[in-house]
Symmetry: C2
Subunit: 724 residues, 2 copies
């Protein structure tokens, strides 16, 4: 089957009563599997198509008959009220202001004096329980000895009454007559007994299902709605729903210290992945991870016992099943499936270890928002496929698929044609390069607070849509996702402890000051600074983007300023003249640029640290791109890197320059940056991708000094044989 | 003399051998005084013109016969070397890298082990003197037990060998055959005895001098040059040259603790006025102030004994003679003179208390850079005068003057005409409003770390030229300098201790995060926050500009976000949806704007804190202007306020709105913002200034509800009588 170009490796969505159309689409795309989803059912005709059957399965919701009988086993979350200003000694703080009462409600059953925390946010002080009373009738907490003009908050334990994804679908699609799914907690005795039994029973009842698509395991990522039923808070990495009185107790028994409500509400930032994680949160993540993975292992074992495959959906209720976590392989899953909108999300999936295969759910979904008169589904499909396929060239997923309603897709013949092409091109790539990676000239280590745990997830936010604040950074992984370089993710704390792993050529630190991606307070550790300083001065490379190593201390803002050759003026050294000097117009890094590169929003007032810093691009009073030598090594600074073909090439050149390997840059190369080349010496194959909608010509350097001129049709992948 | 419109209150520069031309210029402008300056001499013919004579006098330099005999009494300064990275256990740090050896040299005579400090800047640790040795021959310090890959600096005591202003003039004008002035320290015994005796003798020898213009007293502001003889570091407020081993000893005897080299070099920031001053620096300033003022008092007393006037030049060697310091009036000066380029510098001078009169030296100086073929001295004079005269309407200086070479000015007839006009207009203003201030509808308190001590000096940098980083803030004082509102400067620490003075309507906090002007770590003090919160919630107003009250703590970046109605996203709450809502298009504050105001560089990602915040101007994902109600009071946020007539009116409206006094805004008003009105009920006078080069029409509201239409010629000041 691996050798088949026309069939397999594709999953389609089912649609009730549309078996014929589903069948036609399956034949067109060579699909070999079909899946239902939240709200769809597989009918008899569809089952008769002879395709492999996936079925969605919910572990901790969707069983309201159980949940209603065990309301005491509902899930929990810590919520933080807004800040209220005291004007006199008494202050009443309403608990539910800003929250949706259908979704969450205060838990008065577990003693608030034990589980809640009232804080003076002006002083950062905990108010002892004797100084406040809960008023359940008013849904409020009343302070009796408040300090006038201080602000106060209550962090309270709340019940989770409605599964967030179902809530989202329910509200967005205005569902009528559907019950609200109550999420229950497998840490509780009844739920712990119920879930495996329920799965066993369900498997018995559904012999047609080949693949159980877990959606997902125990705890949903943090998604809170406002009283107006609009999104209020969404953190795809949020561990908020994993808390419970029982979890807190088990945690302190295991770790020897107790978590506080503040460890969860985190001054109102709720441990966003942009926060440098503190010890309590790291411990709680790891604690949750072990619990979730153990429970998942049980469920997967049952699935296997019944002769089915177990697939995890990387989304929704995935918290604790970190795909790059230490526990993940122990679950024993067959597969992971996830939504893919670009190269970064593709690599996030395809690099997961501990599963037999990975599957990408591509955009667009066959939904009426895109599949309507005047809609352009081909454009969306093309954007998604072009960005994903270059990542495939480095490490492909094993399967692809789509979602939505096939009947809608069938109305768009151009789209169907494109789908057919995607499926074929995917199979061609997969079958050609299976089991090997393209020749990589460099090893790049992305360094931040998260390290390996959040491989291919840096600066990722809900729904993989960048925020304005993350756009200057998301281009980095997107560029790297389809570059023939080895990428690893290294945590700053591990570098501080153990140093930089052997073989890494260039370290890359990117992000905004204070965040987990730049590193924030981790730069207080002199060991970290010295490890990197030694690495670079002994010949390594460092690339800093945005506010790398930013942490105002000891007279520096960029702690690695000496390596990067630039520092940021924060207002304290305005009186010192800066060693400004002319922009260097000829440099390896900028050689291919036609004009000033688009390096995102300006990071203001970055200045050269010395005359030796090579300023490669400058706007106003700010360096945007610079190259610097430190000892035997090199540093490069960029203000940002939004994704584009030009910036991808710029980054690749910066990496080679920083590594001191400029010559090797020319070993395997497509000279035209619009075409990207990948060489697979193991398979004696190469491929050149025209990533544009125009014909392109490029000169190929084949690793042996030979130049070949190639002409490529729009979007063509040119496959060639490497000659001896 | 006060009533004379044609004569007096004007000082001109002398020019050797040009008495006739000086006389002609004096008659034209009605000048009654003449002055020499650094490098000019008053000749006999000039003395015979019958004008009052000012003469420059240097207290601590310009007497090299003394200085050379007492080289041990030279002044000192603490210098900090660049950071050097250790690669092994030994590290040699050259001391003079980056400094000009003609200007400063290491002081090896006072024990380096006692007076110098070597620091590990990677750890922020002091290295004990046993671990380093001074190598005077190499001009270096050698560390014997350095930690590889740590960075090190040496803070060393240096001799000051060349007076900075003379050095500047000497190098800029390429003087030949002139001796380099060695600055000596009046804290030393010989200099202490020499200076008063020298002044006495000089006064005896110069009976023609009526006014001794001290330029100035003991210590020059910090100005350091690089080995290439270019400006390296300049801080007009810098106390660096006030240090000496003797000062350190006297300080510790008085204060009970010792200052360290780090207290002076301050991580390399040298206590820039943008740094929130710490206790050591505050104490050293006050210590120096008392010493300088005591010495100045002696010199002024001698001057008075000899029947002359004593005038201080606010510049050059003015350190310790803070014009808004507690000690200043005790000096007993007759006058202060200073350079004035705009309204802010005018008010900085005119508001000084403890002198009989103040004098403004206006731009342009009659120097060949402007007074050349193709030069436009009238433009410069006009800009200076127009901005200064609106400040004069609130509080005039008592005299004005010019500098440079009268012979140059005489060659520009248009300029002479303008000069004549300025002199007349100044005298008209002065004589009309002498002794009273315009009716002010508001009291504004500027709040920052410096408070009263640096009245009218916030965000001021060397030469009163704004940096890009200060431009968004310098417009605030410039606007206020000519607005009929009362302005006071309040320090944050005093507010924390004592609260907000009675009668203040609106507080204004403006600056970049972390700086002394925004307040930085002072916002750690809950008392400060609560005082302001109470003030506003009880009905007061607050205006925040740029990054007001910015200090990341307790879940807030803007500590006063609740009052301002806005907060800045620093990357930690990206997951929380912000209460964005449509821009409010009708509001008292923005009523007169024709389009989007120019509010300077964007402060990115400022968002509304609630639906109630009125967004008045927004660019992209950032609020630029907002209005908010908090309790009975109000807050206004502005991202910046570069100076313009439109922004001046905007600020005035924001102030009235914040104070809740919108009605009173219309009491005394020129409706056309290009014309500014000032009412002096005490004198039954009003004046309207057309600040443009075009004719203007405006409607005047006269305080009694009467509207008068006025037509004004370009730049005209219209004087009218207030009727009963």
């Amino acid at each position: 089957m691996i050798q088949q170009q026309d069939f397999g490796r594709v999953t389609l969505p089912a649609e009730e009563g549309c078996a014929e159309r589903v069948g036609a689409l399956a034949r067109l795309m060579g699909a070999d599997a079909i899946r239902n989803s939240d709200g769809t059912r597989l009918d008899e005709e569809t089952l008769r198509l002879g395709l492999k059957i996936y079925s969605t399965y919910f572990v901790s919701r969707g069983k309201n008959h159980f949940a209603k009988d065990h309301k005491e086993e509902r899930q929990h979350i810590y919520l933080l009220t807004p800040r209220y200003t005291a004007e006199k000694e008494t202050l009443e703080i309403p608990l539910m202001e800003g929250f949706l009462s259908e979704q969450v409600s205060p838990d008065y059953d577990h003693s608030p004096a034990v589980f809640w925390e009232v804080r003076d946010r002006t002083e950062g002080r905990v108010i002892p329980p004797q100084e406040w009373q809960v008023q359940p009738e008013q849904g409020a907490v009343r302070l009796s000895r408040a300090e006038p003009y201080h602000e106060y908050t209550v962090a309270f334990l709340a019940w989770a009454d409605w599964d967030p994804t179902q809530m989202y679908n329910y509200i967005t699609n205005d569902w009528q007559g559907v019950e609200k799914d109550i999420p229950y907690d497998l840490r509780q005795p009844a739920a712990a007994a119920f879930a495996p039994a329920e799965l066993s029973g369900w498997l018995e009842e559904h012999p047609e299902v080949d693949v159980v698509r877990f959606t997902t395991f125990l705890y949903h990522f943090t998604l809170l709605f406002s009283p107006r039923r609009k999104e209020k808070y969404v953190d795809w990495f949020g561990y908020g729903f994993a808390v419970s009185p029982e979890a807190l107790e088990a945690f302190s028994a295991e770790y020897g210290y107790s978590l506080t409500p503040e460890d969860f509400v985190d001054e109102g930032y709720y441990n966003s992945p942009f926060r440098v994680p503190n010890r309590a949160f790291r411990d709680f993540m790891s604690f949750t991870e072990r619990f979730v993975c153990a429970k998942a292992r049980e469920l997967v074992a049952i699935t296997h016992q019944k002769g089915r495959e177990a697939m995890m959906f990387l989304g929704d209720t995935w918290i604790g099943a970190e795909p790059y976590g230490r526990e993940f392989p122990s679950i024993g899953l067959d597969a992971v499936v996830g939504s893919v909108g670009n190269g970064t999300t593709l690599r996030m999936l395809s690099e997961i270890r501990g599963v037999r295969y990975t599957e990408a759910r591509f955009l667009p979904y066959f939904f009426p928002d895109v599949f309507r008169e005047g809609g352009d589904p081909v454009r969306e499909a093309r954007e998604c496929w072009l960005s994903a396929r270059r990542a495939m060239m480095v490490k492909p997923v094993d399967r692809i698929g789509y979602g939505g309603y096939p009947s809608l897709a069938m109305q768009f013949p151009d789209f169907l044609k494109y789908m057919e092409r995607v499926a074929k091109e995917f199979r061609k790539i997969y079958n050609s390069i299976y089991g090997c990676r393209p020749s990589a000239g460099l090893r790049v280590g992305i360094i931040n607070s998260w390290g390996e745990l959040r491989s291919w997830q840096t600066h990722m936010v809900a729904h993989a849509i960048p925020y304005a604040k993350t756009a200057p950074y998301t281009g980095i992984l997107e560029a790297l996702s389809g570059l023939p370089v080895e990428v690893s993710f290294l945590s700053l704390s591990r570098i501080a402890e153990e140093g930089i792993p052997q073989g890494v050529d260039v370290l890359l630190n990117a992000g905004e000051a204070g965040t987990a991606f730049s590193g924030g307070k981790e730069w207080e550790d002199p060991r970290l600074i010295c490890r990197i300083r030694r690495f670079v001065r002994e010949g390594g490379g460092l690339i800093g983007i945005g506010e790398p190593s930013a942490y105002p201390k000891n007279g520096r803002y960029f702690q690695l300023a000496d390596l990067l050759g630039v520092e940021r003026e924060m207002g304290f050294s305005l009186s010192a003249n800066k060693p400004w000097h002319p922009v260097c117009t000829h440099h390896f890094i900028t050689e291919e640029l036609s004009g000033a590169p688009n390096l995102g929003e300006d990071v203001s007032f970055v200045y050269p640290l010395s005359e030796e810093t090579e300023i490669l691009c400058q706007s106003g009073e700010s360096v945007r791109l610079a190259a610097n030598r430190a000892g035997r090594g090199r540093g490069v600074y960029l203000s940002g890197l939004p994704f584009s073909a030009e910036n991808t090439r710029l980054l690749l050149r910066a990496l080679y320059w920083a590594a001191g390997k400029e010559k090797e840059f020319f070993r395997y190369l497509s000279k035209n940056p619009a075409c990207e080349a990948f060489f697979y010496p193991q398979k004696k194959l190469f491929a050149v991708l025209n990533q544009t909608a125009l014909p392109q010509q490029t000169v190929l350097l084949d690793g042996r000094g030979k130049e070949t001129v190639l002409s490529l049709a729009p979007e063509e992948i040119y496959w060639g044989c490497m000659t001896e």
